[in-house]
């Protein structure tokens, strides 16, 4: 039976050679399948949280993928492309920053762990004759602990437990709750804010436009009233009257609504204006604009 070991050796050698060939071929070909993806996978999407450019669905990541593809098509190497991105986005854009400074931790900690665990394993494995007197188990105390020590332990453990509860309670008092659930920026509020800005610069056209935007998202009478004011000041009396009328449809006695409507009617329908303004005066005689309106009504009866 001498042929058997020979045959086995031959088969093994052949397999080893074939596997070696496969490995070298594969290693040489690795990463050439999709250079774009492999570069993009190592870039951090700047608009996302913890996603790579290759995986993110954000439009900027899509644009960055396109940029990688364009440059790869121009024949630029992986390193050139990465440098190009670092120039524009800073070193943070690389998902695997080069090992220097703090980044060394990423390699040092696993290496130290490997060494320490290996050392511990060696110690566990190392044969060492047991010294006499060093029993495998040396229970310090059998049965319940002696009275004094047990009472001491009881007291301090109970105190410790309560201290944990109290410290959580104290720490919780320091939390500012609202921070935990930040309300997303309200587009309507932003639009209204912008419109007020515009009003402050006497740009009533643009302000009215912003109020219209805001109204489309949230049909709110306060915003509609502000729109009416802005339109009035922009010179669009008809629009102002219409907006004010819509507001009054919901709240017929709203002083500001009556005021704007009246003022707008002075230009659109001068005959109806005094009646509206008088109604305004009866509804809100103490309104800051009331004296002015009384003067207006007195001069033009």
């Amino acid at each position: 039976m001498r042929w058997r070991p020979v045959a086995v050796t031959l088969v093994l050698v052949a397999l080893l050679a074939a596997a070696g060939a496969g490995l070298t071929r594969s290693a040489a070909g690795a990463g050439q399948d999709d250079p774009v993806r492999s570069v993009a996978a190592d870039l951090r999407c700047p608009a996302c949280q913890g996603e790579s450019v290759a995986d993110s669905r954000s439009p900027i990541a899509a644009a960055m993928r396109q940029a990688v593809a364009d440059q790869a098509a121009q024949g630029r190497s992986r390193d050139e492309i990465r440098r190009w991105f670092v120039q524009r986005y800073g070193p943070d854009v690389l998902a695997d920053p080069p090992a220097r400074g703090v980044e060394l931790l990423l390699w040092a900690v696993p290496a130290l762990t490997l060494l320490a665990a290996g050392y511990a394993a060696r110690r566990t494995l190392r044969a060492r004759p047991r010294r006499s007197g060093e029993l495998p188990t040396a229970p310090p105390a059998a049965g319940p602990a002696p009275g004094g020590a047990a009472r001491w332990a009881w007291r301090w453990s109970a105190l410790g437990l309560i201290a944990v509860v109290v410290s959580v309670a104290v720490a919780a008092r320091g939390l500012d709750r609202p921070r935990s659930d930040p309300t997303p920026a309200d587009p309507v509020a932003v639009a209204v804010g912008l419109a007020r800005d515009l009003e402050a610069q006497d740009r009533y056209d643009a302000a009215a436009q912003m109020y219209r935007e805001a109204l489309r998202d949230r049909p709110d009478d306060t915003i509609r009233l502000r729109l009416a004011f802005a339109l009035l000041r922009a010179g669009d009396a008809a629009g102002a009257a219409q907006a004010a009328t819509e507001t009054l449809a919901h709240a017929p006695e709203l002083p500001d609504g009556l005021l704007v409507l009246g003022l707008a009617q002075r230009r659109t329908r001068p005959t109806e204006a005094p009646r509206t303004l008088r109604r305004f005066l009866t509804v809100a005689p103490e309104h800051p604009a009331a004296p002015e309106i009384r003067r207006l009504l007195a001069t033009r009866p």
């Binding site: 086995v8 093994l12 397999l15 074939a18 596997a19 496969g22 490995l23 594969s26 290693a27 070909g29 690795a30 990463g31 399948d33 999709d34 993806r37 190592d42 951090r44 996302c48 913890g50 790579s52 669905r57 993928r65 998902a95 695997d96 703090v102 980044e103 931790l105 990423l106 900690v109 696993p110 762990t113 490997l114 511990a120 394993a121 566990t124 494995l125 060093e134 495998p136 188990t137 040396a138 229970p139 310090p140 319940p144 602990a145 009472r151 332990a153 009881w154 453990s157 109970a158 309560i162 944990v164 509860v165 959580v168 720490a171 919780a172 939390l175 500012d176 935990s180 659930d181 997303p184």
Partner: protein, 645 residues
């Protein structure tokens, strides 16, 4: 009304938990009867159940005066996802956490173990319960009143209302996380319990196996959810939340293996790994629940960071002092041959611990680099590919070699390795010459082939043994090898293309193509949705219509992709709608062909099944030595029945 009921439930729970801890402490220190302590443990579970029940009722009744409901409930949310929204944000999931913790405590309290070991372990469990009840009461009370009461809520995060796995994944994951408290508690109790503590490893094993099984299943389901919902076609992104679940899994796996065989042999390893597993659970909770690190899965963002960090540190300090200063069992210094199962188990332990260190430092790096003067950046997948992946392949190799080491005779051992070795080399040769998957993938294929062909050789030996879980270890190892094949194959042979196509145009990947037929807009209960009607055709298959969608949730102002996944035996076809032009004339599509992904789920399921089998086997071991109690611990048999080794 429900709000006040819930708050009082939580307060009662805090009191009950504190009482429980004190009663168990009394029992441990003074040897008083444990009956009151057990009753208090049950009462704690009852309060947690009441709190959960009340919150669930508030969610179902749309009681928006309760803060959690106002923030996470919604009238238009389907019933199933209303039920699951109990754990779709931090404060509610903390209640689920408490419920599961209470459940474990009651189960543990009901078992019969050596008295002082049992009592001290219950002290540890109840102390942890106290902390989490305090957290829920003071810092994350979901029952606080909202004023004014809103008419409707935004509903849970849209990503959490898309996949049925939402109903099982978080509870399973929590069952795994919290289950690891049992080995931790026994490890801490053992040094305190004196002679009673000597059998801690044996009593902790079934619990560890149950927790490990749940954790494995939870991680697997999480990957599946990620694959089916996030829409980028991947299942694992080395994201902090994913890493946080992997960390305790790694150390728990190492613990399950070092804990095999005579307990005294690797006493230090067992203690450290049991403690580390639960500390890593707490650390993961801190990392993912504090908003400290950015993550795609971070659906909860809370100001609990400092408290959780403090508790993690407290746990590390307590376990170091307790286990470090008084080891319960001195490691035996009996010599073992250089190439033995003992060596293999330790090598496996060293490697798994190193992988855990890699994942840990990679995950907390953003937290460390800022204060240490670096740029506050997270670590990308490339880092893990260069570090964790090679280590994992070596672990796989060790897994394949280990069974042969059981044989004392070296020639016989080599002979047993010959066939798997030849198959592995042949696999590498064939795959490497036919395609170019890259070095890591090729090595992973070869190693997996090595493991898979080696496993049947172990079968006769396992069958000779008695015990229920005797085959479970093999099943789990098969599962792990299949997962390795799935991961390697899908990452090396996955192909995708992303392009904007006009109506009638075709996007092609390999032999799979989709043609855009049209775009439909629909407004339904949850908001707006855009569907792309596509004709999907594969070579050799019939043409079918698929409709991936883009769903806009106005309540949260987010758009969520709803990919279409066509699962096949060997490959998945994955179509995502990324964007639609305003005139509906074109759509940006992503088409991916992901081979071997099915193996991943099958392997994960097998692994979990193996864990479950081992747990059943370990919970009812055959009494070999015939004596009751701690002496049943076999010391002369190298491998115990029902071990997952």
């Amino acid at each position: 009304m429900l709000g006040e009921l819930g708050t009082s439930g939580l307060t009662a729970g805090l009191l009950c938990a504190t009482l429980t801890a004190l009663l168990w402490l009394r029992a441990a220190l003074f040897g008083t009867p444990t009956r009151p302590a057990r009753l208090a443990t049950a009462a704690t579970l009852a309060t947690a159940a009441v709190a959960c029940g009340v919150l669930e009722a508030a969610l179902l009744r749309h009681d928006f005066s309760v803060r959690y409901v106002a923030e996470n409930g919604g009238r238009r949310v389907p019933l199933y996802y209303t039920v699951t929204s109990l754990w779709s944000a931090l404060d509610g999931s903390l209640l689920l956490w408490l419920l599961i913790l209470g459940g474990y405590a009651v189960l543990l309290a009901g078992r019969r173990y050596p008295a002082r070991l049992h009592a001290y372990a219950m002290v540890v469990v109840s102390a942890v319960t106290v902390f989490f009840f305090a957290l829920s009461c003071f810092a994350a009370n979901p029952f606080r009143a909202v004023d004014p009461v809103p008419a409707d809520g935004p509903g849970p995060n849209p990503l959490l209302q898309q996949h049925p796995a939402m109903g099982v994944h978080p509870p399973l994951l929590y069952a795994g996380y919290i289950g690891l408290i049992v080995p931790f508690a026994f490890a801490l109790a053992a040094p305190l319990a004196g002679r009673d503590g000597r059998g801690w490893l044996r009593v902790a094993r079934p619990w560890t196996l149950v927790a490990w099984t749940a954790l494995t299943a939870g991680i697997g389901l999480g990957a599946w959810w990620s694959y089916a919902v996030l829409g980028w076609g991947g299942y694992w992104a080395w994201d902090p939340v994913e890493n946080a679940s992997l960390l305790p899994w790694l150390t728990a796996t190492a613990f399950l293996h070092t804990g095999l065989g005579p307990g005294a042999r690797r006493a230090g390893w067992n203690l450290v790994l049991a403690c580390a597993s639960f500390v890593l659970v707490l650390l993961g909770t801190f990392l993912t629940r504090s908003g400290a690190v950015a993550s795609v899965h971070a659906f909860t963002d809370s100001p609990l960071g400092p408290m959780l960090l403090g508790f993690v540190l407290l746990a590390v300090v307590a376990s170091t002092i307790l286990t470090g200063w008084r080891p319960p069992e001195r490691a035996s210094r009996a010599a073992s041959p250089a190439l033995s199962r003992n060596t293999a188990v330790l090598v496996n332990g060293v490697l798994l611990v190193t992988i855990a260190a890699v994942v840990l430092i990679g995950t907390i790096f953003p937290l460390l680099s800022g204060p240490l003067g670096g740029v506050r950046t997270s670590v990308g997948p490339d880092y893990y590919h260069r570090t964790a992946v090679p280590l994992a392949i070596v672990v796989l190799l060790a897994m394949g070699v280990t069974p042969a080491l059981r044989v004392r005779d070296r020639t016989r051992a080599l002979r047993r390795l010959a066939v798997p070795g030849a198959v592995a080399l042949a696999t590498v040769a064939v795959v490497g010459l036919l395609s170019r998957p890259g070095l890591p993938t090729l090595t992973a294929f070869g190693t997996a082939a090595f493991v898979l062909t080696g496993l049947p050789g172990e079968l006769p030996e396992r069958l000779r043994r008695s015990g229920r879980g005797r085959l479970a270890g093999l099943v789990a190892h098969t599962g792990i090898a299949l997962v390795a094949v799935g991961v390697a194959g899908s990452s090396a042979y996955g192909r995708d293309a992303e392009r904007t196509v006009r109506t009638g145009e075709v996007l092609r990947v390999g032999d799979v193509s989709v043609r855009l037929v049209g775009v439909d807009r629909t407004g339904d209960t949850g908001g707006m949705a855009v569907h792309a009607r596509l004709r999907l055709s594969e070579s050799g298959g019939t043409e079918r219509t698929v409709t991936p969608a883009l769903r806009y949730h106005p309540a949260r102002d987010t758009a969520v992709t709803v990919p279409v996944i066509d699962t096949g035996l060997l490959r998945d076809t994955y179509v995502t709608l990324i964007a639609v032009s305003p005139d509906d004339g074109s759509a940006t599509l992503r088409l991916a062909v992901n081979p071997l992904v099915g193996l991943l789920w099958a392997g994960g399921a097998l692994t979990a099944a193996g864990g479950l089998g081992s747990a059943i086997g370990a919970a009812r071991p055959r009494r070999r030595t015939g004596t009751a109690g701690e002496e049943a611990r076999p010391t002369s048999v190298p491998v115990r029945a029902g071990a997952a080794g």
